[in-house]
Symmetry: C2
Subunit: 301 residues, 2 copies
């Protein structure tokens, strides 16, 4: 797309942090690129970059412009997708930032279901914590985000929200496995493992224990829900997860028990997009499919 060559140049310069470096990457000389930038700044009515001794950096105006550029690029992609859609073929690329919980069963199942109908659509799945996911929405790095208990919510437009209670994961022969519903104090009296502070499950646990006598005293704090899930098979500990991450294919040697909602309130699993943006056809359809899948899932509970 020729008409936005200059905009792409600006973006690449901003990413590279130096005109010459960006110029090399795109196989032109620094001087040519430099002049493009200068010409643009003149037309724009003011500088876009700060000139530093070691390169360039976007100034405030540049940041605003950058946002516009990203939006324009993504919107053009959407238009091209829609046009391709007119001629029958459904093509496109869906980029999702999601938290770990969606990995084991939910996303694989949904993506394959979608691709069965639209084989022309490709997917990129980025594993991100909730704060990162929202940042990537803002920077148009990702189209869709699925996060548990998001933090900022400024540019986040909720497409679908379902409640997800925090559950305990334990070995089948764990003493607590007998009860159908567990009290939080029992879980915390036993040895337990918790996710690190970036995660929504941990956030809910922190909220539940704040100001109470019982506190977290984890034998392990980890980044990986899969690790923690497997760990209950090796040592008699209690792990914490949300149901969506514990699909039907759960190891038969472990069990899942709900925690009394009086102790830990359920969190929200959100599907969202960048506020105000019109999603490409493929992405919008997928978002819709995921939403109704979540709907059924929450009805089942």
């Amino acid at each position: 797309m020729r008409h936005m060559r200059t905009l792409l140049m600006i973006r690449d310069v901003a990413n590279a942090g130096s005109i010459r470096r960006a110029a090399e990457d795109m196989n032109i000389t620094g001087s040519a690129l430099n002049r493009q930038i200068q010409k643009f700044e003149e037309e724009f009515g003011g500088p876009i970059f700060e000139r530093l001794p070691r390169g360039v950096r976007l100034n405030t105006a540049g940041e605003l412009l950058m946002h516009h550029i990203q939006a324009q690029l993504s919107d053009l992609e959407r238009v091209r997708g829609q046009v391709a859609d007119l001629s029958g073929e459904r093509r496109g690329h869906v980029t999702i930032a999601c938290s770990q919980a969606l990995n084991p069963t939910f996303l694989p199942r949904e993506i394959s279901r979608y691709r069965a109908e639209h084989p022309g659509v490709r997917f990129t799945v980025r594993l991100r914590d909730r704060a990162q996911a929202e940042r990537e929405l803002s920077s148009f790095t990702t189209d869709l985000a699925m996060v548990f208990e998001p933090v900022y919510l400024v540019d986040f437009e909720v497409i679908k929200a379902v409640e997800q209670p925090v559950c305990a994961v334990l070995a089948r022969d764990h003493p607590l496995a007998a009860a159908a519903v567990l009290r939080l104090r029992d879980c915390l009296s036993a040895p337990h493992v918790v996710p690190s502070r970036d995660y929504g499950v941990r956030h809910l646990l922190d909220m539940a224990t704040r100001g109470r006598s019982l506190g977290l005293d984890p034998v392990m704090e980890a980044d990986s829900f899969e690790l923690m899930r497997q760990y209950v098979l090796y040592e008699q500990v209690v792990g914490f997860q949300i149901p969506i991450g514990l699909g039907p294919g759960l190891d038969p040697r472990m069990v899942v028990r709900r925690i009394d909602p009086r102790d830990v309130e359920p969190g929200l699993l959100l599907v969202g997009q960048m506020r105000g943006r019109t999603l490409p056809v493929a992405t919008a359809k997928f978002a819709q499919q995921v939403s109704s899948a979540l709907e059924e899932l929450s009805d089942a509970v």
Copy 2:
């Protein structure tokens, strides 16, 4: 802005309906413009225009692209406004599509109040009926719309809504002027004038009389609220208007009477924008000011 020259060309060709005609308007030859279009279509991956014996017309893909172009143009304007805002000066241009009711007092007052603080901001006010106003929002021809009882509401994002009851306007010496609140049947028994079908006031009157024995039997049906207002001074008729169109500067020879809310339900006066769009700074500020003015106004009633 050089980088969207091609896009502007496409827009102008679409508007002119012919490449040569558009070329003349922008002082280049038809061949040059023709080649720009062809080059773009090649890059885009398909034709944008239908070639007709009498000129060109956007095809479906072109329509989609056109929407994108207009969105980009308006978003770039927004960015430039925000950047200008950084350097202290508040500049910009606010385009409003509004129904007639806002004309006599409300908009003049609000615009002058705004300009007193920000003299760099210019205004364009377009008088439109409610359907036109919404279409102009969709086509980015206007930034803000103020309409009474809008019809479609698909691309319309409500910024502010206030109730406006339908009122009767009559000469001070009209027999009905004695009562503080009028019944609709009394108004319709007397000679009356009503707005034409495009207007929200008429819509509410139609709703109120539908299926009732009393029907509209206007001596005059008109497009102009000002005309109808003045007319009550010349013949003993009842006119219908909403309070916001009847500011403090009302002619002392006429009076306004509320109509019993049991007879005609109040309509909604809406301030709105194109759904999902980020408004330019100046426009957003003005929308905010107007909203709070409406707030006070409805508190007063």
